[in-house]
Symmetry: D2
Subunit: 282 residues, 4 copies
C-alpha cells in the first residue's frame, strides 16, 4: 500500500482464446475504475490460448472483480488476482555457496521480492554463513535415512513455514514425484547446462574432456523429470581450452547465480505462466 | 493476401494515455469483425503515452476503421493502418561490402521483408557485385562536387524510385539536415560503436590503442546528428589485446551486418515507434 | 610472399610435454635466423601434452628446419610447417542458403582465407546462386541411389578438386565412416544446437514446444558421430515465447553463418589442434 | 607451498622485443631446474614490445633467478617474480552493496585470491553488513572536509593496512592525482558504461531517455582520468524500452559485480600488464 492508501494488484489470466477477450476484460477494469500501470498479452496462435498479465493501482474489491471476470471469460479460464507482495520462500541448499550467498545478500538489502523464511540443507557446511543473516538454518542429514524418510523430515520442516515458493539453490538431492506434485510450479531449480548435454556424474569434467566452448545455466520449474521442467531463464558464457574442469565449474557458478536471481525476479513478480512443459513470460 | 482471399493488416497507434483506451480500440476491432493475430501495447508511464501494435487477418475497409479509431482516440493520436507488404527501399553504400552483401543475399532468397529497388554509391567498387543480383547500381561520384550538389544528384536518383525507406549500409558521407528531414524516421544507418566512444578518424585504430575488450554496432534512425538518432538494435562482441586494428575492424563488420539485418526486420515489420530520440519496439 | 621477397610460414607442433621444449624449439628458430611474428603455446597439464603455433617471416629451408625440430623433439611429435596460403576447399550444401551465401560473398571480396573450388549439392536449388559467383556447382541427386552409391559420386567429384578441407555448409546427408576417415579432421560442419539437446526430426519445432530461452550453433570437425566431433566455435542467441518455430529457425540461421565463418577463419589460419574429441585453439 | 614442500611462483616480464628472448629466458628456467606449469607470451608487433607470464613449481632462489634474467634481457626489462599468494587489499565503497556483497561472500568462502583487510566508506550505510564478516569498517565522513583533507584521512587509514591493491567497489568520490600516483596501476575501479557514453549526473536516467538497447560495465585501473584508465574487463547486457531508469540501474548492477569479480581474478592472479593506457592480459 502506498502513502495515498492506494494498493497495487497483479492479475494473471490465461484461457482459450476467443474474439473480444481484451475488450471484455478491459471493460471490467474500466467499470471498476482501475488504473492499469502495466499490461501485457500474448496469444499462442498454434494452441489457441490467451495469456494476460496486468498491474493496477486503485481501490478494489478483489472478490467482486474476479467474479465479474469469471462471468465474462471462457469456463476454463485461470484467474489469479493478488495484491503485490513479497513472496514467502524457503531455500534448499547442499554445500555450494554461490547462489545462496547471492540471494541472502540481495535479501538483506531488500532487493529480492521475497521473504526468505528459512534455509534447509542436507549438509551443515553453510550453517555459519546463513546464521550471519539471522535466518533459521535447518541441517537435516540424509545419513542412515531412506530417501523418503529424509524427504519426510524436510517436508515437515518446510510445512511449518508455509512458503509460497521453494528455491533449490544448488540442492543436490533428487525429490520424489509426490513432493514435487505438492509444490507444482512452485519449485524453482538452477541447473548447470552444456552443449552438448552431459548426463551422469562430474559434468564439468565431462565438459572439459569434450572441449566445449561455452557453458551455461538454466533456471526452471521442477517437474517429475528433475532437470527438465519448464525453462524460465537461460544464459551462457564463453570458455576455452585453457580452463580446466575446476575453472569451468567456477565460470559456471557465476552464471548460475545470475540466472537464478533473474528467474526468481520474474517468478516473484508474477510474470511467469506455465503451459505444459514451457513458460510464457509477460 | 492468403489463399482464402483474406488479407493481413498492421495497425500502429500511439497517443496520450487515457483510461479505457484498450477497451475502446478493442471494441472497434470487435465491431468490424477483425481477427487479431498479434497484439502488443506499451504505456510509457513517465510521459503518459500509449503505444499499440496489432496484426489482423480479415476483410476490412481500412478507411472506415481508421475513421472509427480517430473518433474514439485522443485528438493527437498517430494512427497507421496498412496492409502487410514488403517495403520499397534504396540502399546507399560506399566501399565496404559486408552489410550490402548480407542484404542482397537475403533479398535474393526472399528473406528480407523488402524490395531493394536500387543501390547508390559514391564509389564504383561495389558495382560488379550488385549487378550479379540484377539490381540497378548508381555510381554518383562526389569528386569536384560541393556536398549539396552531390546530395542533389543522389536525391534525384532516389526520388525516381520513390522508396519507403533508405538504408545506409556503410554509406560514409554526411547527409544534410534538409535531406534527413525529407526522410524523417525513414533512414536506417549502421554504425560501429565502442566503449568508450571514439570520435574522429580511424575509430578501430583508436579502439586498439585504448585496449577495448569489446566492440559493437548500433543500428539507428538518422536524425540531424548523424550517428545519434533513435537506437533500434545494439550488439557487441568480445575482443582482446591480440587483435590489431585490422582484426578489430573485421570483428566489427560481422556484428554490423547482423545488427543491421535485425534492425531492418523490426522496421520493415512495422514494429518500431520513434518518440523524441528513442525507440519503442513492439 | 611480401614485396621484400620475404615469406610467411606457420608452424604447428604438438608432442608429449618435456622440460626445455620451448628452449630447444626457440633455439632452432634462432639458429635459422627466423623472425617470429606470433607465438602461442599451451601445455595440457593433465595429459602432459605440449602444443605450439608460431608464425615466421624470413627465408628458410623448410625441410631443414623440420629435420632439426624432429631431432630435438620427442619421437611422437607432430610437426606441420607450411607457407601461409589460402586453403583449397569444396563446399557441400543442400537447400539452405545462409551459410553458403555468407561464404561466397566473403570469398568474392577475398576475405576468406580459402579458394572455394566448387560447391556440391544433393539438390539443385542453390545452383543459380552459386553460378553468379562463377564457381562450379555440382548437383548430385540422391534419388534412386543407395547412400554408398551417392557418396561415391560425391567423392569422385571432390577428388577431382583435391581440396585440403571440406565444408558442410548445411549439408543434410549423413556421411559414411569411410568417407569421414578419408578426410580426418578436415571436414568442418555447422550444426544448430540447443539446451537441452533435441534429437530426431524438426529440432526447432521441438525447441519451440519446450520453450527454450536460447538457441545456438556449433561448428565442429566431423568424426564418426556426425554431430559430435571436436567443437571449434559455439555461440547462442536469446529467444522467447513469442517466436514460433519458424522464427526460431531464422534466428538460428543468423548464428549458424557467423559461427561457421569464425570457425573457418581459425581452421584456415592453422590455429586448431585436435586432441581426441576436443580442440585446442592457439 | 604444497605438501611436497614445493612452492609456486609467478614471473612477469615485459621488455623491448628482441630475437631469441624466449630462448634465453627458457634457458634460464631450464638451468635452474624449474618446472613450468603455465606460460604465455605476447609480442606487440607494432610497438616492438615483448610480454611474458609464467607459472613455476619447484625450489628456487628468486634473487638469483632475477639476477640471471636481468643479465640476459634488454636493460629496460620489467621483471616481477613472486611466490603465488593472496593479495592484500582494501576496499573503498560508498552506499551501493552489490559489488561489496559479492566480494565479501567470495572472500568468506576463500574463493577470492585476496585478503580483504578493511573496508573504507564515506557513508555509514554498509557498516552493519561488513561487520557480519568480521572485517574492519572505517566510516570516514566527507562532511565539512575539503576533498584533500578527506582523502588524507582515507589515505592514513589505508596506509595502516599496507595493501597491495585498492578496489573501488562503487566508491563515488573523485581521487586526486597525488593519491592515484601513489597507487599507480594498483587501484581497480568498476564503472557503469553505455553506448553512447553519458557524462554528468544520473547516467541511467540519461540512458533511459536515450533508449539504449544495452548497458554495460567496465573494470579498469584508475589513472589521472578517473573513468578512463586501462580497461581490464568489459561486459554488457541487453535491455529494452520497458525498463525504466531504476530497472536499468538494477541490470547494470548485476553486470558490474560480475565484471569486477572477473577483473580482480585476473589482477590478483598477476595476469594483467599495463602499457600506456591499455592492458595486455596473459
Amino acid at each position: 500500500m502506498n502513502k495515498a492508501g492506494h494498493q497495487f494488484y497483479v492479475l494473471k489470466i490465461d484461457c482459450p482464446d476467443a474474439k473480444g477477450l481484451v475488450h471484455q476484460i478491459s471493460g471490467i477494469f474500466y467499470h471498476h475504475g482501475l488504473n492499469m500501470v502495466e499490461n501485457e498479452e500474448f496469444v499462442d496462435i498454434e494452441n489457441g490460448h490467451f495469456y494476460m498479465r496486468s498491474e493496477f493501482e486503485g481501490h478494489m474489491d478483489p472478490v467482486k472483480v474476479v467474479e465479474d471476470l469469471r462471468q465474462s471469460l471462457p469456463e476454463k479460464a485461470n484467474i489469479e488476482l493478488s495484491e503485490k507482495h513479497k513472496k514467502d520462500v524457503v531455500l534448499l541448499v547442499t554445500k555450494e555457496y554461490h547462489c545462496l550467498g547471492d540471494l541472502l545478500v540481495r535479501h538483506f538489502f531488500k532487493d529480492l521480492q521475497a521473504n526468505i523464511l528459512a534455509v534447509i540443507s542436507n549438509h551443515h557446511d553453510l550453517g555459519d554463513f546463513v546464521h550471519k543473516f539471522n535466518i533459521p538454518f535447518h541441517f537435516i542429514s540424509a545419513d542412515k535415512l531412506e530417501r523418503s524418510e529424509h524427504e519426510q523430515v524436510v517436508n515437515d520442516t518446510i510445512t511449518k513455514y508455509n512458503p509460497e515458493f521453494l528455491v533449490l539453490a544448488k540442492y543436490m538431492r533428487i525429490l520424489t514425484p509426490d513432493f514435487i506434485h505438492r509444490y507444482k510450479n512452485r519449485i524453482v531449480n538452477i541447473h548447470h547446462s552444456f552443449l552438448p548435454a552431459f548426463v551422469g556424474a562430474k559434468p564439468y569434467v565431462q565438459a572439459h574432456a569434450r572441449g566445449v566452448k561455452m557453458i551455461g545455466a538454466t533456471a526452471h520449474f521442477v517437474n517429475e523429470n528433475l532437470d527438465e521442467g519448464p525453462i524460465i531463464v537461460q544464459e551462457v558464457t564463453q570458455v576455452d581450452h585453457q580452463m580446466d574442469a575446476r575453472q569451468l565449474a567456477k565460470s559456471g557458478r557465476d552464471i548460475e547465480k545470475i540466472v537464478l536471481a533473474r528467474a526468481l525476479k520474474l517468478v516473484f513478480d508474477d510474470r511467469v505462466f506455465v503451459s505444459d512443459n514451457k513458460t510464457i513470460i509477460l
